[in-house]
Structures are given as C-alpha cells and as structure tokens.
C-alpha cells in the first residue's frame, strides 16, 4: 500500500481551566502504509480510541521534570492515548499483520509507533472489541488493581466510589458487590444515579450536585463509616470522606478529576483524620500492575460471558467527534466509558 490520507487530532495550545473543542483541531494528514526499511516499529490501523481523564493533565504546559506516562502533549501533533488497533505491518516478530492489540496509540487513523507501546495482544474476540478500551483494558485493570490490590477488600466492608458510573467506577462497584461489600456511588446526574442502582447493582447512589452537605450525605449512607474509598475525584468529596472513615480504612487514589481543570486546586483540610483512624491513602498508576493482566482476564471474562458483570459505554462515532467526546468527560456529559470509534475493523 502506498500513501493514504490520515485524519488526525492535534493539540492547538496548552490548556488552563476547562478544555474546549477548539483547543484541538483536525488535520488531513498523509501516511505511507509501509514500514520504513529495517524498522522495529509497528504500523497500526486505529479502531477505538479511549477518552480518559488523565489526558487532561497532559494538556497542561509543564515546566520542570516530568513523570513518565504523564508528560505534556506536544503542540501541533496528534494527541496520544489508549486505543484498540489492528496491526498492518510489524517490524517486531511478536506481532503480525491482522493482530488486534491494545495499548498507546495516537489520535489518527493510522499510526506508526514503537512496538513497546502495545500493552497486550487481544486474544479473546467473543466480547465487543471496544471493551479493550474499557472493561478489558486500562480502566478495567485500574479498577481491579486499585480495588483488590490496594483496597484489600473484605466481605462485609463498606465501600464508597466517586465518579461511580465512569469507566473505572462502574467496575469498582461491581467488584465490591462480588466481594460481598456494601457499596454506594456518587455521580453527577439522575440518569447516572439510576444506572448505578438499577443496572450496575450498587446498593445506593446519590447525585453529589444535589447534596448541599456531602458530609451529611455520607453519614446518611454510611452511619458506621467507610472502609474503602475509591478516589476518582479529589477536592470537596475527599474532604467529606475524610470525616467518615472507619479505623484502618484504605483510599486507593486513582484520580482527582474535579481538580484537573482548576488553576488553583481546592484545599483538603481534614487530612489529620489519616492519623487518628490509621488510614492508608495510596496513589497508583495502572501500568505498575499490568503483570496481573492474565489473572485479571481469567477472573473477569467468565463474569462478562455470564452477564454477571456489565459495562456501560458511551460511543462517539468518528475521529472528528473525538475532541467533543474528550471535552465532555470534564463536564460529565458521558454516561459510562467514553469511546471514540475511528473504524470498526
């Protein structure tokens, strides 16, 4: 194959405050669908792209040393992120034409990337391919590692999940129910609250936007306190949770989406509760846990096939709708995991 057109989504400028669609722009690029001579890279056809909250932090202009995996995007270049792709040609003998893979790719139709950016080859195709951007991909592993490895849940414990209908939260709640925990989720609309209670099996759920006093809301749902708080949002929610923890509670700290668009983060004032209550608050990044992926699939695939774990996706059609989908994450417009379809095969 020779040179073909390659639609791409570029970052126009670094962002402060909430991102807008106009912070990105579409480019009609070109790419030669042939690996350069001697290359060890892989040439990918991108199928599904994942919209993830951490991408916002990469839109900041960062001065000083950067943390691997969170480095700032390069202006006037494609965004990068997780996705599902098909291998067109591979210079790495571990992959061959036609393989389906998930890992780090770029926001464009075709990408040439180092094969080290592939996280895993997709071996199970009896589930929707888009699942490898969500339940069977990075967010799924995030929920699994955070809840089981860091949260150390025990049957009968009380679990609170914020951003509970999101890509990660909806799974944490279902994992908690499988473990025999009581689980409550917070989300930002009535539709999401209904989803949590009626489809995702949460014991209770509430709309944090309708609670004037988050501390009182948590006391209502957790009169005996919280054992595990799966932290996705930070800020005021975290501060209220700190007043409602049980002794030896754990806070797997996955994200703080409420803070990413603020130029001055909200101050958290109740941290001294960490001491009296002997709390462990632990930040984690999913890539430190990918060695558990085979075990994770073994655990999760049967539950998916038997319908015991479900997954809600919000699918945007077409790369050109990617910027709006990504921006929508930060106003909570998405319901469930936000995916962008570039091509279905």
């Amino acid at each position: 194959m020779g040179e073909v057109s390659n639609k791409q989504v570029f970052l126009r400028n670094y962002v402060s405050g909430f991102p807008k669609e106009s912070d990105m722009y579409l480019v009609e690029g070109k790419i030669t669908l042939k690996l350069p001579e001697g290359s060890n890279d892989v040439l990918l056809k991108n199928l599904y792209l994942s919209c993830d909250p951490y991408m916002r932090t990469r839109m900041n202009k960062v001065d000083g040393p950067e943390v691997e995996g969170f480095n700032a995007y390069i202006l006037d270049s494609p965004l990068t992120g997780y996705g599902v792709a098909k291998v067109i040609e591979s210079g790495d003998p571990n992959y061959k034409e036609g393989d389906l893979v998930w890992g780090f790719t770029k926001w464009e139709e075709y990408s040439l990337v180092p094969s080290t950016q592939i996280v895993f080859k997709i071996e199970h195709n009896d589930v929707p391919l888009s699942y490898y951007t969500g339940i069977l991909g990075m967010p799924g592993m995030t929920a699994y590692a955070g809840f089981f490895e860091i949260g150390s849940p025990k049957k009968g414990e009380n679990v609170f999940v914020s951003a509970a209908s999101g890509a990660v939260g909806q799974l944490v709640g279902q994992f908690a129910k499988l473990t025999g925990c009581y689980v409550v989720g917070s989300a930002g609309s009535k539709e999401k609250v209904d989803l949590l209670k009626n489809k995702l099996g949460f014991d209770e759920a509430f709309n944090y936007k309708e609670e004037l006093d988050l501390n009182a809301a948590l006391k209502r749902y957790f009169p005996e306190g919280i054992d595990i708080y799966f932290e996705n949002v930070g800020g005021k929610t975290l501060d209220a949770v700190l007043l409602n923890l049980k002794l030896h509670a754990r806070i797997p700290t996955c994200g703080m989406i409420s803070q990413y668009n603020l130029t001055q983060h909200e101050g958290v004032t109740n941290l001294s509760n960490l001491i009296y209550k002997r709390i462990r608050m632990e930040g984690f990044v999913v890539s430190d846990y990918y060695h558990l992926y085979p075990k994770f699939l073994e655990f999760l695939l049967p539950h998916i096939r038997e319908g015991k774990i479900v997954y809600v996706e919000d699918i945007a059609e077409g790369l050109e709708n990617g910027p709006a989908a990504l921006v929508g994450l930060f106003s909570g417009r998405n319901v469930g995991k936000q995916v962008v379809v570039v091509a279905r095969e």
Copy 2:
C-alpha cells in the same frame, strides 16, 4: 499509708486555638495510698510525665463518636497522658510494689489506674528513667514504627523530617543515618537547626520560619526528590513536600502539629501528586505497634549505651510547671523531648 496530699493538673475548659496555661489549673487534692479492698488496679507514684502534641487534640470538645486513645479530656479532672511511675501497690499480680513502669497515667502526684494502662514494666535502669517518656517510650516506638515499618527505608534514600528536633523527629533522623540514608530536618529556630546538624547527625537542616518558599527550600536540599517524608506537621509543609517527592515515595503520617491549634485547617492542594508519583501516605498510631517493643529495645539499647544514638530532653521541674511545659510545645519553646518531673524516685 493513709491519706496524703496529691497535687493535680485539671483542665478548666475546652480549648479553641492555641492552648494557654490558664486553660489548666492546679488542685491540691488528697488520695489514700492504699488500694481499695478487692481492687485489681494499680496505685502509682508518678515520676516523669510526657508532654505530647496529640494531647492538644484531646483538649477539643468533640461531638459525636470518638476515636479510642484520642477521646476528649474531662473538664475539672486531671489531664491524662504517658508517664513513668513507681508501683506503690498492685491488685494485678503482674506488678508489685517498687516496680517501675511506663504507660498511661494522670497529671498528679499519685494515681490509681487500671493496670491495663501500664504499657510496659521497665527492665533496664542503666539509662535515665526519663528516657521512658521519650526515646525508650511512646515517641521512640513512634519513630521506630513509622520509619521502619511504614517508611520501609532503603540505604541511599532521601529522607525529610519535619519537627525534626522534637521527641520523635530527632530519632527518625538518627535511624535514617543508621540506615545509610541522606536526611534533612526542618525546625523552627537557629538553635534547633544547629542541634540537628551538630549533635543529632542530620546531613542538613533548615529553619522553616526563614524560608519564604518551602518548595524552593526542598528543591535546594533534595534536587532529586524525597523518598520518605516523615510527617509531623501537616499544612504548608506537607503541601510543599508533595511537589518534591520521588516515584514510590512513602509518607509515614505521624502528626500534624501545625494544624492542631487552627479552628480552620490549612487546605492541602497538591494531593494529586500522590497519583502520578504512586505515593503511599499512611497514618499510624503507635499503640498498634507495641508488640514490637522487645525488638525495639534490643535494637536501640546497645546504640544508646555505645553513644551512637543520643537524645535531647527539655526537662521542666515540678508538676506545677506542667501546664507551661505543655503549652510550650505548640509555640516550639521546647528544645527536644519535653518532660515534666513530678518526683525523681
């Protein structure tokens, strides 16, 4: 022995803001130096009382469920706290007249307490008895458990300690040096900084009151970042530390003395660094670690005897000087571990 006079320190009122000497008052009580018939309690002659920052939190009027060990003091009753005492009479066969013990006692000359309030019998008398309020007592075990058990230090790591010349901090620094770490302490006066550098073996030390920009100060002392932050103070110091941590750093969270006197705690804004840097922040309470006390003594006593670990105490003479000594903790007036001598034998 019959009834004798028993000087006591009572709490006059609950405290908001900084405590004052006048929040406490002296009482000339009386006590019968004979156990009541059939009692299982112990009758103690108090020798040394310990002034500890956590006592401030017990001067708050707390509504709602309390945390064991941090329950509010009772007004017009003696303060309680750690101390070294001699057994006068014991209704518990584990103790006998003349035994020296350390544990929870009251701020008075003689106390009748349940024997369960004794933490340990004192078996080694070739070191100053006051050490059992500090290096060989609760603060020593706090430094040991927090640094070794929660901090998981490795040779060559970078350690930062706040309130570094205090009862706990001065030991954390010396433990870090024994482990082969680089250690920097912060304290609130030139005298304390000199002590840290010249007597306690810290690699570097600084006066936080003279640093307009704590972030810049930490970058100066830790150009490559901090592996372990032993947290004693909270607030602004914690917020600056969060900007200067290395990947997989640990924050043993022992206390937040800078916050205890504030009616509105300072907001901590940089917690999202816990995520990117995979940080574990873990609060702890020393009483969860007393099972390690024999191992701790085995480790520490030889170092004390050989002069390889030293300990700075600030001794106030007489129970009547107890309130001033306790209040002084919160303005940093003490240099080293603050002890109150009630009687020397």
